[in-house]
Amino acid sequence: MLVIIDYDAGNTYNVKKAFDYLKIPTTLTADPQQIKNCDGMILPGVGAFGPAMATLQERGLANLIKHEALAGKPLLGICLGMQMLFENSTEYGNHAGLGLIPGKVVAFPTETNYRVPQMGWNQNQLLQSKKDFDFLANEYTYFVHSYYVKCDLKYIVTAADYGVQVPALVRRQQIYGTQFHPEKSGAVGLRVLQTFAQKAVAK
């Protein structure tokens, strides 16, 4: 069973609907026992970094997710959920993240003249072949964000160009993150969710 971490994130229900459509069973929960017992965790997220991390901490979820992921449980962070996998963010102050992948979350540079937020379909460039996610090469997925991740290239599977290189799908061992919204990215997005689910259950 996959667990979608329930902490009132904006896209939670749409993520659940996407898995329902794929007929992949998921439970929406904040219950520590269910999170401990599940095959894989999905961390959704929309909104600001600081308040979202604060909510995870208040509910005792931050340490639990971190502990489970470090013990080898598959984890998929989506959008803000992906950004929270990293060490810290400068969105309205300086906030610590889960620190599961080295890197930081920063604002788009103002000098590029690109409109912020980045809102729309951008193209994935495959930076490293991971076989399971090679289908994303040159595919467009849906992005909505004002901050982006800066991290070592070795964690970036696909990236999109928005004046800067925007990590689109990141991976460190069994920990995955998508800056785009797979639940809003049509057939290719659904395939991302399906691929993660297969890996989690096969593990």
Partner: protein, 252 residues
């Protein structure tokens, strides 16, 4: 590169798509979920649902529509029409909407833009602006209540203010062009594009393939919205995208 978006708009009345939609050979041509699914197959990048119901039951019905559509259509959904409160916004987002479009309420109660942006993020709040040109002065004035009421606001002035208040996107309909099928109001979008730095969606006037090419090549807009050309299948989304691609416009 970010792709330009092609956005069909659906008018929903009491839970049913109202304008004739004749591209589907369906028994129930007015079903929003079926029509949305067909647009997804055609390659739409986003859908806008405009609630035109004028009854007290309206919000509940629209919430059900969004709930249904979002179970089988996986692209961004924007909902607008008569939304006046944070509670309504929240219910629609929970049902599956990604963005909420505010029009008349944004003018009468601008603090709703800010409250919505603070609670749900700027990316979630679209301010829709209906614009008509005053023939005598050439000024672009903002209209509300489905284009029935003229305001004293000029389009550029109100657009800037809406963005300062928290709007993450602007949906600009040219009432002069709307339904004319003679092309988008490119001058208007140029002016607005220079004035604000959030994405702008152009609406009103799409009649043929070249109209889409022109608006993307001549103005800095992120997307183009159309209703009738798609509903009546005068153009398919695939045709529009193919023609944009030929012209070198980045599309998905």
């Amino acid at each position: 590169m970010l792709a330009k978006r092609i956005i069909p708009c659906l008018d929903v009345d009491q839970g049913r798509v109202k304008k004739g939609v004749n591209f589907l050979n369906l028994t129930d041509v007015g079903d929003p979920a079926e029509i949305a699914a067909e647009y997804q197959r055609q390659g739409a990048d986003e859908l806008v649902f405009l609630d035109i119901t004028a009854t007290n039951q309206r919000r509940k019905t629209m919430t059900e529509v969004v709930e249904q559509v979002s179970r089988q259509v996986f692209m961004p959904l924007t909902v607008g029409g008569g939304i006046t409160s944070i509670a309504e916004i929240q219910a629609l987002l929970k049902a599956g909407a990604d963005k909420i479009s505010l029009n008349s309420a944004a003018i009468s109660n601008p603090s709703l833009i800010t409250a919505g942006a603070k609670k749900f993020g700027n990316q979630c709040i679209v301010v829709a602006i209906d614009v008509k040109t005053d023939q005598a002065s050439g000024k672009h004035f903002v209209y509300t209540h489905g284009g029935r009421q003229k305001t004293s606001f000029e389009a550029v002035e109100w657009a800037k203010r809406a963005v300062n208040l928290g709007a993450g996107e602007l949906l600009i309909t040219s009432m002069d062009q709307d339904g004319m099928k003679t092309g988008f109001a490119i001058d208007l979008y140029r002016k607005l594009g220079a004035a604000v730095d959030v994405p702008i969606i152009a609406s009103g006037g799409a009649g043929n393939l070249q109209d889409f090419v022109d608006v993307f090549q001549q103005a800095d807009v992120a997307g183009a919205l159309a209703a009738s050309v798609f509903h009546y299948r005068e153009l398919t989304i695939a045709q529009v995208k193919e023609s944009l691609k030929q012209a070198g416009v980045v599309i998905r």
